[in-house]
């Protein structure tokens, strides 16, 4: 942890809170939507600070891109009049809601502060930093599951070595035709990883605490097509159902 990471954390944290407040206080829905876009960008920054790079990109693409375009499109399509965009005048109901929200935040904060052992957090962080400094091999990303067959134990170093070997075979001209662009199908490993770029040790040192593949595209996608393949496919079904439902709902008359 240097100087910049905490600074960016506080910038993004206050940005997230301020833009969230703007979302619920602005009268014009258009301004609310624009504040929400800023909010999503702040969240993407926080994800990067948590080294969830893949999710930060997905956050910007899916939330900042797709969902917010949908929101803005609907707001502009409906062309809401000012009388409809006005929030309710101040009344007991709104006051009670605000008091309830603040109370909920304080309850949650008290629970968090009493549950999360701050000393333990510091200890773990120091221990991890030390392990990273002294480690010769990459810190393992995944542990093996007790259920056999459900979990592909991804040994990143072995995968890297395998591809380095393959690349070397290509370079030396000793590669067989079966080592072509796409490897032969192996029933034991149905989900082959694409050849990765050589890890650049200098680049890995630029951002402290960001070593290894943690949070990048590769481990997430490997988990998606191995251990979580059933929910992944079900998500596809869900999206199809949502498309059909949205079309039917928005159509003027279903034939």
């Amino acid at each position: 942890m240097g100087f910049w990471e905490p600074l960016f954390f506080w910038i993004f944290a206050f940005g997230a809170i301020i833009t969230s407040c703007a979302v619920i206080w602005m009268r014009n829905p258009l301004y609310c939507a624009l504040a929400l876009i800023l909010d999503f960008f702040c969240f993407a920054g926080l994800y990067v600070l948590l080294s969830a790079h893949f999710l930060a990109v997905v956050q910007i693409l899916v939330y900042g891109g797709a969902i917010m375009v949908l929101f803005l499109f609907i707001i502009m399509l409906l062309n809401l009049r000012e009388r409809e965009t006005l929030s309710i005048p101040f009344q007991v109901h709104g006051l009670a809601a605000v008091v309830g929200g603040v109370a909920m935040f304080f309850f949650a904060a008290v629970v968090i502060l009493n549950t999360v052992d701050m000393d333990r957090v510091e200890e773990e962080r120091a221990r991890y930093a030390e392990a990273v400094e002294q480690a010769e091999e990459p810190v393992p990303l995944m542990t093996e599951s007790a259920i056999e067959g459900l979990y592909a134990d991804v040994n990143e170093t072995a995968v890297e070595e395998q591809y380095v070997e393959k690349l070397r075979a290509w370079r030396d001209g000793t590669a067989k035709p079966s080592d072509g662009k796409y490897p032969q199908f192996d029933p034991q490993r149905p989900f082959e990883l694409p050849p990765s770029l050589e890890p650049d040790p200098e680049l890995a040192q630029v951002v402290p605490g960001r070593e290894g593949l943690y949070g990048t595209f590769k481990p997430v996608s490997v988990m998606l097509v191995n251990r979580f393949v059933v929910p992944f496919e079900l998500t596809a079904v869900l999206l199809l159902a949502a498309i059909i439902g949205a079309v039917i709902l928005a159509k003027r008359r279903v034939a």
């Binding site: 809170i17 619920i24 929400l36 969830a52 409809e84 773990e124 810190v139 498309i243």
Partner: protein, 103 residues
């Protein structure tokens, strides 16, 4: 609270954004803004997942957050279709107009 962010910082930030979204759901009347507040709450839950994933140095939380994003996208599509439908019938998107099932 230290200057350097820890797990508790992220959790409290997430609780704050969740509470703001909750207040928004309760005080606003515009259906579109209600959905925006729900998106806020979903995002704060995502942040919690990712903070815990980073703390434990496991990546299951990332997959969970990914699925939550997919479900949120589907939900937004259907919800906005419902908003269009309501607007066509009531000429407005205020949730006060949607009380046909109340009586």
């Amino acid at each position: 609270m230290s200057w350097e962010p820890t797990l508790a910082h992220f959790l409290i930030l997430s609780a704050a954004v969740f509470s703001i979204g909750l207040v928004g759901v309760m005080i606003r009347r515009n259906a579109i803004i209600l959905f925006m507040c729900i998106e806020l709450m979903i995002n704060s839950v995502n942040l919690t997942f990712i903070a815990f994933a980073r703390y434990r140095f496991e990546m299951d939380g990332h997959v969970f957050a990914f699925f939550i994003m997919a479900v949120a996208a589907a939900e937004a599509a259907v919800a906005l279709a419902i908003v269009i439908h309501v607007f066509r019938h009531k000429r407005g998107v205020s949730v006060d107009d949607m009380q046909a099932l109340k009586y």
